[in-house]
Structure formats: C-alpha cells, structure tokens
Amino acid sequence: MISRLVLIVLFVGFSQASFASEAADSSKAFNASEVILHHVLDDHIWHFFDGHYGTLYLPIIVYSSERGLESFSSHNFYDEHHNIVEYNGYKLDHNHIYLSDSGESVLDLSITKNVAMLFINATLMILILTAVARGYKRNVGKAPKGIQAFIEPIIVFVRDEVIKPNIGPKYEKFLPYLLTLFFFILFGNLLGLLPGAANLTGNIAVTMVLAVGTFIITNVSGNKAYWGHIFWTPGVPLPLRIVILPVEIIGIITKPISLMVRLFVAITAGHIVLLSLICLVFVFGSVYVGIGSTLIVLFINLIELLVAGIQAYVFTLFSSLYIGMAIAEHAHDDHH
C-alpha cells in the first residue's frame, strides 16, 4: 500500500516536474553526477553545508624530494569565493596536489576527509570497545550491562557463527584481527551513513588495506597442506597440475581482490543510490518528487543499515574462510 502510494506520488511528481522544467529554464545547471562523486570521493576539505562556517579545512601534509615535508591548512588553496588557487608553489587539481613549477605530483599525506573519518572511526571504536571491556571488569561474573550488553552479542555472534566454524579449532589466534576487522567495517559503514560523513569503507584504498591484511595473515599462516595444494595439487593427473598451478596462484591474488572490491562497491553503490535519489529532487525541483524521493531515501537508508551489517559480516566471513582454508589440516589423497 505504502509502496504504491510512493509510486503514485513519484509519477505525479515526474509529470509535474517535466512541465516545470519546460516552463522555467533553470539558470544554473545542476550537475548531479558531480555532486554525487564529490560526496563519494575523498577530499582535502570537509564540506558540511554552504556558507562561511560550513566547511572544515583539513590540514595538508605533503612530501616531495625537492621541497621535503611540508604542512599547511587546505584553506590556503581556496580564496574567499571558494575558488581554487595556488599556494606556496603547490597546486591543487581534482584533489591531487602538484608542484606548480614542475607539475610533478607530490606524496600527499594530508589528513583528508577520509583520514579524519578514519581517526573518528578508530577513536569511537577504542572508546566503545574499551568501555565494553571495562564492563567486564566492573561486573565480573554478572550479566552484561549497558553498552556491554549491546556489543557482547555481536562479539559472540562473530566469534561463534563466523570465525569458529570457518577457521576451526585454532580460531582463537585470529580472533583479535578478525574482530577488529569486523568492528572497523561495521563502524565505518554505519558512520558513513550519517549525513555529512565521509565514505570511509566505500573507499578503495581503505578496503585495499583491509584486504591486504587478510591476504598477509592468510599466506603467513598457510601451512604445508595449503602451499602443497597450490603448487602441486594432490589427487590430480600430472598434466592437469601444470594447468592448475597458475590458476591456484591467481586464486591467491583474487581472494583479497574480491574482498576489496566487494566492500568498496557495496558501500559506494549504496551511497550513490542514496545521493542519486536525493539529487532527483534538485534535478526536477518539484515538491512531489521531494516527497517521493524522501520516502524512498528513507527506505534505502534502512536497507543501507542492513547492508552495513551484512558487508562487515561478509568481509569477516570470507577472511575467516580464507584463513581457515590456509590452516586446515586436511588429509586429502584422492578426492577433490
């Protein structure tokens, strides 16, 4: 019923809007894809709202062999009309910093929007999870209370349903890494849904580092059976082993790549869908579209909350699975 209503409102809105756009030619072209990308991508400033105080200018830290390490506020790149200007021999172009003389790019270690978000995420995680740990010290042998009671089922779920069944009896060694991973992604996903927040877990650099972490742990803890399976697959005829070898080697690489891409795509796609729906309102400039898309945005937001949990779960699940496969003590002789 509600969805039908939403559809009706949306269609009415569309038809209204088409008339409206024909009637009044908007003076300033609204570029939806630019707005969306601007929200999804990393940035050197943190833009909350238009106006004088709406933007947080984050610090720039750059290193180049010519000029060494230098640090200054990103405010220097903007003039009073918010136009990008050169500063002190540095040039900002599409979020990349170059030396204005040689045009060479520098090593950009700035505290960008995502880095700031990363710090917020990490701080929140430490605050919340140490509070949980304190809860265990405070009520020893008693039922969990407060934040402890909220987080404990998640920890127990991840430990018992995700990590334990996939890694096997030696799971305890990997618990700290996998729990950190799970909560990092969960917190990042949820924080990213807040208005004005940065798209941290939807950034490929972040997911890459996480995937590389799993990749390193998997291959460092891989046992003889794991490597034997890759380089000299048992139970397979000799000519086939030669064929399988490159496939297996590619397999080592594709596992973390799939982890990296899955999380990045899921979160970024969610943000793009949300922003697109919001942009519809500005594209059509109609009240009806506003009502319709707000309802849909609300609905998609709920789905995104679900996706936030699911993606954290999936990343941890596959990480556990890969680690579990690498350390499994299986006596395989014939079947595969």
Binding site: L37, V40, L41, D42, I61, H94, N95, L107, D108, L109, S110, I111, T112, N114, V115, L118, F119, A122, M125, I126, L129, T130, V132, A133, Y136, K137, V140, G141, E152, I155, V156, R159, E172, L175, P176, Y177, L179, T180, F183, F184, N203, I204, A205, V206, M208, V209, L210, G213, T268
Partner: protein, 164 residues
C-alpha cells in the same frame, strides 16, 4: 576513474591506523573481553555440569534410599516370618511336649492303675478263694456230715472227670 584509484596517503594512514587499532584493541578490548566471555562460559558450563552431577547424585541417593528401604522392609518381613516360625515351632514343640508329657502321665497312670488293678484282682482272687474255702469248708462241714453225702460227692467228681 578517481573512484577506483586508491590514494597513497589514505593507504598509508589506513595501514597505520588499522595496525595501531589492532594492537590497541587487542590489548585493551579483545583480550579482557574474550577472556571474560570464556571464563563466563566455562563457569556456566561448570555450573551446569555440577547441577547435573548433583541431580544424578540425588537420583542415586534416592535409589539408594529406596534400596535400603526395600532391604529394611525385606529384613523386617524376614524377621517377622522368622519370629512367627520360631513361635509356631515353639508352640508346636510345647504342644508336642505337653502331649508327650500327658501321654506319659496317662501311660504311667494306666500302668499304675493296671498294677493296682492286678494287685486288687489278686487280692480279690485271694479273698474270693479264702471266702470260697470258708464257704466250702462250711458247706463241707455241713454236707459231709453223713457218708452218703461223701459218696455223692466222690461220684460227682468221678463223673466230672469222666466227662473231661
């Protein structure tokens, strides 16, 4: 395309922060949390095991009690039966003894009576013989006063002898 190219700075920051986060959380959060969880789980499973053991103990105690009770009941029954048997035996014995005693007394009495009877009979015989002799003497004295009477008597004897 910028969406797909990871920024070097962010990679470095993410790596540093994530490693620090991992180390810090391992020390400050996961270690105490997981230890407490494990402790609680073992204490719960221990408590459950203890409860189960106690339950079994109670059950075995109950069955032991029942066994003891049953044994006691059996013992009592056996004792009662034994007592009854003993009483019966004693009663029978007593009865038999009494009977034997009675029989013996009766027998003794009978023997005594017989002896007395014999003695009495002998006495009676003697008396009767004496009386008879006296009577006979008196009769003889009276009847054998004449010769004829003596002759009849002798004849009578002779007849009798003949007949015999």
């Amino acid at each position: 395309m910028e969406l797909l190219t990871p920024g070097t700075g962010l990679i470095l920051w993410q790596a540093i922060v994530f490693v620090l986060l991992f180390i810090l959380l391992s020390r400050l959060a996961w270690k105490p949390i997981l230890a407490s969880l494990k402790e609680r789980e073992t204490s719960i499973s221990d408590a459950l095991n203890t409860a189960e053991k106690a339950r079994q103990e109670i059950a075995s105690l109950k069955s032991d009690n029942e066994k003891l009770l049953k044994e006691a009941r059996e013992e009592r029954d056996r004792m009662l039966k034994d007592a009854r048997d003993a009483a019966n035996r004693m009663k029978d014995q007593a009865a038999a003894d009494a009977k034997k005693q009675g029989d013996k007394i009766i027998e003794d009495a009978r023997i005594a009576i017989n002896i007395e009877k014999q003695a009495a009979l002998k006495e009676v015989h003697t008396q009767v013989a004496l009386f008879s002799l006296e009577v006979a003497e008196k009769l003889m004295k009276k009847n054998l006063a004449g010769d004829k009477a003596q002759k009849d008597l002798v004849d009578g004897y002779i007849k009798e002898l003949k007949l015999n």
